[in-house]
């Protein structure tokens, strides 16, 4: 559905997108995962034909984003990173505007947005500028869907959104996937990655790894432990001095310690008991995608 081949984009000395190749298959929910400045938005702008690549190409459903840009624009539903609806138009006026631009009507494609729009409908006369963050995201998604696109490109739809609205947003994406939409979505939240079929982890314009989130976690090269105590900051400092650690990172209420595979639990327990005088709990755990991402970043 989406074929990105060796695409590059630089701004002066800065290479924003550095030789990226991605294939998104029909019906996939594909995640571009990386922090701000990784190149996600530049990539989206090339896919939407708003920016011309320096090298390489992007082809969506057989249409080249440079040569066939008019076609491409019609088959895409795009939700840019910044909220870009008209703040002084009402909810309904915004939706109507986007429908009209694409030569359709709200009624014609209402079934596509019904699930999402029904929570907005009570506020359809409210100005878009007066909506809460979660509501704005829902409206932006409706506007991206109203012309019945084939492919959805969503640039950081959940940034600045609270955990509940974020969860709801992903539930909506899953429902759209069930309806047959192909979606490319970017996010800086690593836990969002676990909801995608396939992800590309990107940093500084390059792909660190690309696979299913399960496989990426499986490739993690070390043994991983979760350790918790009443004061995690002190605990982390103690663990940081452990000479057999590969890495140690705080994870909310616990610390994840990576070691060589031959290290046994007793060895770590003995080390910790020798330097701290409070109780702690330790257990082996499976790595998650955030562990994997940080490991890949370290290797770079």
């Amino acid at each position: 559905m989406i074929n990105i081949k060796n695409i590059k984009k630089s701004y002066g000395d800065i290479t924003a997108v550095d030789d990226i190749t991605i294939h998104v298959r029909k019906g996939q929910l594909f995640g571009l995962i990386g922090p701000d400045g990784a190149g996600k938005t530049s990539l989206f702008r090339m896919l939407t034909s708003l920016l011309i690549p320096d090298e390489g190409s992007a082809v969506i459903m057989g249409y080249d984003t440079v040569k066939d840009y008019r076609k491409v624009r019609n088959i895409l539903g795009y939700m840019p990173e910044r909220f870009s609806l008209y703040l002084d138009l009402s909810v309904e006026e915004n939706l109507n505007f986007f429908a009209t631009v694409f030569n359709t009507t709200i009624e014609e494609n209402y079934n596509l947005i019904k699930d999402i729009y029904k929570v907005l409908e009570p506020f359809k006369d409210r100005r878009a500028g007066d909506l809460s963050g979660g509501m704005k995201q829902k409206l932006a998604l409706c506007c991206a869907l109203i012309h019945k696109p084939e492919v959805l490109l969503l640039d950081e739809p959940t940034t600045g959104v609270d955990p509940v609205s974020r969860k709801e947003f992903w539930e909506m994406l899953k429902r759209l996937q069930a309806k047959g939409f192909t979606t490319l979505v970017s996010t800086p939240f690593l836990d969002d990655a676990e909801l995608c079929d396939e992800v590309a982890l990107i940093q500084d314009g390059k792909i660190l790894d690309m696979d299913s989130p399960q496989n990426i976690a499986k490739k993690y090269p070390h043994k991983l432990w979760s350790i918790s105590a009443s004061n995690n900051y002190k605990l982390l400092r103690a663990i940081n001095n452990y000479e057999k650690k590969k890495s140690a990172f705080a994870f909310g209420n616990s610390v994840h310690l990576a070691t060589d595979n031959e290290i046994e639990i007793e060895e770590i327990q003995n080390y910790l008991k020798s330097i701290i005088d409070y109780d702690f709990e330790i257990k082996p755990i499976e790595p998650n995608i955030e562990d994997a991402f940080m490991e890949l970043m370290k290797e770079e």
């Binding site: 990386g34 922090p35 701000d36 400045g37 990784a38 809460s132 963050g133 979660g134 509501m135 950081e156 940034t159 600045g160 959104v161 609270d162 955990p163 509940v164 609205s165 974020r166 969860k167 800086p188 939240f189 690593l190 940093q203 995690n232 900051y233 990172f249 705080a250 994870f251 909310g252 209420n253 955030e290 991402f293 940080m294 970043m297 370290k298």
Partner: protein, 242 residues
């Protein structure tokens, strides 16, 4: 022993017409705490922070921050707190050092104080080599660390951090929290909002706002027990979904 309070708020309310953005909230923040201020979008967090930082006055209720009344001593209050968000931070077209000088000046530090502070800060951040670099040429994660250090350049009693790590990579995000812990060791109280629930778990106490009111407040352990949850993410979803 009575704990020293840095924020004390009683029955604080902000109404816009009939709509109460903040509805009768009361709480305290103690010296040396990391206080997590959570809530759904539109719950009233931003309005509450604006009252606590002296940007707007309350409709009713009252309080003090860093020893100053939030309605009557707003100028004094602003001089004695630090504030940082992702949106409001550094001047992109000034260098790192120029930003430090500018903010140091705003907060009334002398030339010598600014130089002493800058030296300490650049050492701690390992950023001596980029002090003449334009902020626009510095990566986001680094900028956020600089912005935080600048926000506490005048040794405020308390610093307000509004989603300070939004969009930052996972390693830099953790380094940012190291800076927060260092500031706490230097005696600064931290008031922080975040959408990362692992970060909420780093806080000493957490409050949860829903529809303008504080629905829950307490330590992580207290909230996990009370809402029969394993993670703060679960607590958040249970409270926000009612």
């Amino acid at each position: 022993m009575e704990k020293e309070t840095v924020i004390e708020v009683k029955n604080l309310t902000k109404a816009y017409g009939a709509f109460k953005a903040v509805n009768d909230i009361s709480f305290e923040v103690y010296k040396g705490e990391i206080f997590g201020f959570l809530g759904a979008n539109g719950a009233g967090k931003t309005t509450a922070i604006k009252m606590l930082t002296g940007i707007i006055t309350s409709t009713s209720g009252d309080g003090s921050v860093a020893g100053y009344n939030i309605n009557k001593q707003r100028d004094k209050l602003k001089e004695n707190i630090g504030y940082m968000s992702q949106k409001f931070s550094l001047y992109e077209d000034l260098t790192l050092m120029e930003n430090v000088e500018f903010y140091g000046g705003i907060y009334g530090l002398s030339k010598k104080q600014i130089i002493d502070k800058a030296t300490l800060m650049l050492d701690r951040l390992h950023m001596n080599h980029i002090k003449e670099t334009l902020i626009s040429d510095i990566p986001l994660g680094w900028k956020q660390k600089i912005a935080f250090s600048v926000a506490i350049i005048h040794d405020p009693k308390i610093v307000f951090l509004d989603e300070p790590t939004s969009g930052v990579d996972p390693i830099t995000r953790r380094q940012f929290w190291d800076l927060i812990y260092q500031a706490v060791e230097d005696g600064i109280t931290v008031f922080v909002t975040t959408h990362y629930m692992d970060e909420a778990e780093y806080c000493d106490r957490i409050s949860m706002m829903v529809d303008g009111e504080i629905h829950a407040i307490g330590s992580l352990q207290y909230l996990l027990n009370k809402y029969d949850s394993k993670t703060m993410d679960e607590v958040f979803i249970k409270i926000a979904r009612g």
